[in-house]
Symmetry: D2
Subunit: 98 residues, 4 copies
């Protein structure tokens, strides 16, 4: 698996418009906000199962109802299709809990 | 807290039409079905927080993508508003994950 | 994968002495009891990840601090090494939370 | 609830020796390391229930098997007994999963 570049990267990023590129690192990030801590943690649980199934884990920070996520593929040294797939899944899971 | 009876019971039950009364016991039940185990367990996690917050816990059975729930208020010896509230919350949470 | 029989079955069952055979079905069961609901659910979460990783899921019932588990391998029509492995893992996880 | 100071603070901190004070902020932090992601997330789930019960939530960052926690009481503007209590609970929960 190699990092996304060029046109493939641009079109992949276009599918996850709520995510932004991280300064100084080949990664993407998004902050999710939920009604309360319990809803935020339910989101994290659902993501945790998807992450474990894909053996691809997020870097994430949580405080109360906020979850800040950074995605990158460590083995590939940058952003790959695996990150886009997990970002897409997280978007859907967050929308379901909004 | 006393068990729901008469007209109050009938109108409470009307708000949770997907739940049915349990034979031989003053309780209600519903079976939820999800896409897979991970989704079923994410549902259970979200319910678990709500149950803990209300200090009112379900009786539930899970295998793979199926969750069978029975609700009753043990202290009151029957079905109460607490059960209707938890049933309503579970309906919403399940709908969000469907 | 075929159901455990004979001496292999006997020695496998001897490794999980807290589990008992289910009447009228080729399966094993154990009831776990925890301090409270939160601890019971933390146990269930840890088991859920192990079950998902092995693609082998328990049949389980929970109410408050009690978790009743039945293990059998549906595809094999009975008790297999997969069940013994999950039973062993659950024993360790429950002991850690006791 | 007021921030811990003086001798009360010193003796409170002495009960959680694995936690260190945060530079430039009245808070404490500890990094936990587990066997794998599933174990780290089981830890987080157990903590989540305790946090919700106390209505006192951690700031935490997770990637794979590592959980970095910062505790402070936002309403009090600093470190209080609530943080020491949650730190103590987290220490016990982590030890159980080690």
């Amino acid at each position: 698996m190699t990092p996304l570049t060029g046109a493939a990267r641009a079109s992949a990023l276009a599918t996850v418009p709520d995510w932004s590129e991280v300064d100084g690192r080949d990664a993407i990030q998004r902050t999710f906000q939920f009604e309360d801590f319990a809803t935020a943690f339910a989101f994290m649980t659902r993501v945790a199962f998807a992450a474990e199934a894909a053996n691809h884990h997020p870097e994430w920070f949580n405080v109360y109802n906020r979850v800040e996520v950074t995605l990158a593929t460590h083995d590939a040294g940058g952003l790959t299709d695996k990150d886009i797939a997990l970002a897409t899944a997280m978007d859907g899971m967050a929308a379901a809990l909004a």
